[in-house]
């Protein structure tokens, strides 16, 4: 009945488009900021004159800063959180959060920014998400102010992230967000195997895709009814980490479809490369021999994680894509199906392939942007210093994750962190029986905590299994080098998305068809011709042009 009223019919999915369109109109007037650096600013009230890396920031007078706060359903924000008190105690800064529900956080964020109503601090910004706001001038070019951020600069250098920072630059040579820095980064999603079953049939933990195939064949021989390999994410996850081993990009990691050819010094299209073909052939072979469950490649990802758990529980699948959380899910399903079941689930490093033991390039985590109005605040310099401390100083990182030393956790001489027995961290299954939860009750270990992490801090809270996985990846795999930046201007951006969308559709459809055997691999050349017919060359010229222009400018 509610559908009959126009109000209820309002299509919320149109939000991003509407926001983008209106933002251009509304904020066109705001663009064209002056190009001064951070050093020459005179709104220095409450700031520290001698702020340096690894030093405690404390505003010289109490100040309020507003911040956008994404509200996770299982972790609703509370004013009483000790997190806010502790920040205030240490820095004289009171954070004023604006809540947005997690379910539609990005839409609401776009709306607030476009309406000029955003809080000063806009956190939870992933790389690339700043691009839509660049031309409107609604957010500040952070690259102009990094000289006010000693901690940021120190850790960019120490963790060797300088080149990656340069890749954040937009067409105008500036970057508008500063990311969370990770000392080490490993793929979150890789393959989870039933190690007990692999052991049972005498198969090693596979280090390459070929070894995996051998192992799967052995399992198939022993359990002929099973289709031992599956992917609960429409194949997108598996293609993503497999692609790196085949020297290409696919699945979730397909991005805009281009792949940097080091030798030729230009971008080529990933989905027409030999590596891509080889990968598709490999997976088609698995499907043909009944080693890869084709059903899981076609069911939509919403419910199929459940369906996949079901298959794992019923011993129809022995290896599947997933993250550490998926391991827990599979465990739960296996135990539910048979409380006495004995099994060992292990997340393994992504297998290598023809391109070597290569995994995805190192990643940034989410960082923050500042809304344009922040610059008119008399406390602007203090704001930037505060954020530099909060996001990048080791003291702040430890506080955001573990709380207050001596109260919620202790740290021994060699830096090992132990949680106080009165506190729990349910999200990581630490001390689950204690009454007070660090995250739910005190606000620590919320999203701010994960943004920047040293390796030691990362290892302090993750399960031994995950740490093992991390160590394994770090010692035996090489991250692929990042591609050079090729930022497009507004007009090019539109043209590129017009070209890229149909290309990607063709690639997605045909990748699946080739793998499932609906289209014979002999037609590969026809498929390449089809892509060329969709102006593939024009698209590549656009990207390569942007890359060359950027290289000349910077």
């Amino acid at each position: 009945m509610g559908d009959l009223t126009p109000r209820a019919r309002r299509p919320w999915r149109a939000v991003p488009a509407a926001v983008a369109a209106s933002s251009l109109l509304l904020l066109a007037a705001c663009s064209g900021e002056s190009e001064e650096g951070g050093a020459g600013l005179d709104n220095t009230e409450a700031s520290m004159t001698d702020f340096a890396a690894d030093q405690q920031f404390k505003a010289t007078e109490p100040v309020d800063f507003s911040i956008l706060w994404t509200d996770w359903p299982e972790l609703p924000i509370k004013d009483s959180w000790q997190l806010f008190d502790e920040i205030e105690k240490r820095t004289n800064v009171t954070l004023q959060p604006t809540n947005i529900p997690f379910s539609d956080a990005t839409e609401k964020r776009s709306l607030l920014i476009s309406a000029g109503d955003a809080p000063q601090i806009i956190p939870l910004v992933y790389t690339g998400e700043d691009a839509p706001f660049v031309s409107s001038g609604a957010v500040l070019p952070m690259s102009d102010y990094v000289d006010l951020m000693p901690n940021f600069q120190k850790y960019v250098e120490e963790w060797d992230l300088g080149d990656m920072i340069d890749n954040l630059r937009q067409d105008d040579g500036k970057y508008y967000m500063v990311p969370g820095l990770q000392e080490v980064s490993v793929p979150v999603f890789s393959m989870i195997i039933r190690k007990d079953v692999f052991d049972e049939v005498g198969a090693e933990v596979p280090e390459t895709w070929d070894e995996l195939r051998v192992a799967l064949e052995k399992i198939k021989a022993k359990h002929p009814d099973s289709k031992p390999l599956a992917d609960g994410f429409e194949g997108q996850s598996m293609l993503n980490y497999a692609a790196h081993a085949y020297g290409t990009v696919a699945g979730w990691g397909f991005g805009n479809g281009t792949f940097w050819d080091e030798g030729a010094g230009e971008f080529t299209y990933a989905a027409t490369s030999d590596g891509y073909k080889e990968m598709v052939e490999y997976f088609h072979g698995l499907v043909e021999d009944g080693l890869l469950d084709p059903e899981t490649l076609t069911t939509t990802s919403d419910g199929s994680v459940n369906e996949l758990s079901e298959k794992v529980a019923n011993s129809a699948v022995y290896a599947a894509s997933g993250a550490s959380g998926t391991v827990a899910e599979f465990q739960l399903a296996l135990q539910e199906a048979d409380p006495d079941a004995e099994f060992e689930l292990v997340q393994i490093a992504p297998p290598g392939g023809p391109a070597g033991q290569v995994v995805e390039p190192r990643n940034f985590w989410h960082g923050f942007m500042l809304s344009a109005e922040a610059k008119d605040d008399p406390h602007f310099v203090a704001l930037v210093q505060f954020l530099d401390w909060l996001y990048y100083s080791p003291d702040a990182r430890e506080m955001l994750r573990w709380g207050v030393e001596g109260e919620t956790y202790t740290k021994d001489a060699d830096g090992t962190i132990t949680i106080d027995p009165d506190y729990s961290l349910d999200a990581y299954n630490i001390n689950p029986d204690a009454k007070t939860d660090l995250a739910k009750d005190l606000g620590f270990s919320t999203f701010l905590a994960e943004s920047t992490e040293s390796r030691a801090l990362k290892e302090s809270y993750n399960s031994d299994q995950f740490v093992e996985y991390m160590d394994r990846v770090l010692e035996s795999r090489t991250p692929r080098d990042p591609f050079p930046p090729a930022p497009l201007d507004d007009a090019e951006l539109e043209q590129a998305s017009l070209l890229a969308t149909p290309l990607k559709d063709t690639v997605d459809t045909n990748t699946l068809k080739f793998i499932l055997g609906d289209r014979p691999l002999a037609e590969w050349d026809d498929y390449v011709t089809e892509l060329e017919g969709q102006n593939l060359q024009g698209y590549l010229d656009l990207i390569n042009g942007a890359q060359q222009r950027f290289a000349e400018k910077n």
Binding site: G2, L4, P101, D104, Q236, G253, E310, A323, L332
Partner: protein, 309 residues
């Protein structure tokens, strides 16, 4: 005197008085019943599943064992939900928004509709035009947001309640209903000395119970289900209606299993299907209870409008 024995009507009691049903008609009835039962079973199935899930253990749901009947009976989630302060404060918000919103909407819609139902009113065309215009054109998202926020309505109940207070569709339905009331009634009332407010309050409204009930239903369901304006204009979770609470719970959880969250390495722990089910059940109960009571008005209301056209 012995009417009972001699009367043929007693003998034939229980059989239809009119023409006998043809075989074709009976076959149709059987087929119709079966088809409708099957269709309604299909429609009920999701509800039953959610109900069963709300009483099941999370593990059983994960393993896909729950369809019609609870597996691993569990009341803990209901117990936990009963103690969740945020859920109940959202619930209270929804009740308040629905009650206040429906009241305001009904007052505005009935009075507006009554005025524009009078054919002799000068400028009537303009008034209708103003309303209908908003059906086809609106300012768009950002301008609306800027309007609401510069009116100072942001983060108040009024931001949720006022923008939807006059639904043009409802207004037009009501207008044509009022137009169809016999003009003679009003004339008689005027002769007896009633003014326009008297006519409206003492003659027209009592005669319009059917359409009023229908409108109350439309408005209250719309307010109850509305999460979008709350999502746009409210920034504090203590002001959120329960629908937004639920949307966050469900959309948030399912998107954590999807590409966006996964590609960036979501740290969300998925909210279990069990909790989702419990929230859904608790949220739909009141509005489901309202339906049967308003239904009869609703049916007669629609018929009235159509027959009298």
């Amino acid at each position: 005197m012995q009417r009972a024995t001699s009367s043929p009507s007693v003998r034939s009691a229980g059989t239809p008085v009119g023409a006998r049903d043809t075989r074709g008609y009976r076959a149709f009835t059987v087929f119709n019943t079966v088809a409708l039962v099957v269709v309604s079973l299909f429609m009920l199935y999701p509800f039953v599943t959610v109900l069963a899930q709300s009483f099941s253990s999370p593990g059983a749901i994960k393993a896909g064992m729950v369809s019609f009947w609870p597996v691993g009976f569990n009341l803990d989630t209901y117990r936990a939900m009963a103690q969740d302060g945020l859920f109940w404060s959202s619930y209270r918000n929804t009740l308040v928004y629905t009650l206040v919103g429906t009241t305001i909407a009904m007052v505005l819609t009935t009075t507006f509709a009554f005025v524009i139902s009078k054919r002799h009113l000068r400028g009537r065309g303009v008034l209708i035009g103003v309303a209908v215009f908003t059906m086809f054109f609106n300012g768009g998202l950002v301008p609306n947001y800027v309007l609401i926020s510069s009116l100072g309505l942001k983060n108040t109940m009024w931001a949720v309640v006022l923008p939807g207070a006059v639904s043009v569709f409802n207004l037009l339905v009501m207008k044509s209903f009022f137009e169809n009331l016999p003009q003679e009634l009003e004339e008689a009332a005027q002769i007896d000395g009633l003014g326009w407010f008297g006519i409206f309050g003492r003659i027209v409204l009592p005669l319009s119970k059917a359409v009023l009930a229908t409108m109350v239903l439309f408005y209250s369901v719309a307010y109850w289900n509305d999460w979008f304006s709350a999502f746009l204009y409210l920034d504090k979770n203590e002001l959120f209606p329960v629908t937004l609470f639920m949307r966050n719970l469900i959309a948030g959880a399912s998107s954590s299993a999807s590409e966006g969250a996964a590609a960036v390495g979501a740290t969300t722990q998925a909210v279990s299907a069990n909790i989702q089910a419990v929230t859904m059940i608790l949220t739909i109960i009141p509005i489901v209870c309202v339906y049967p009571f308003v239904q009869r008005f609703f049916v007669s209301g629609v018929m009235l409008g159509s027959v009298k056209g």
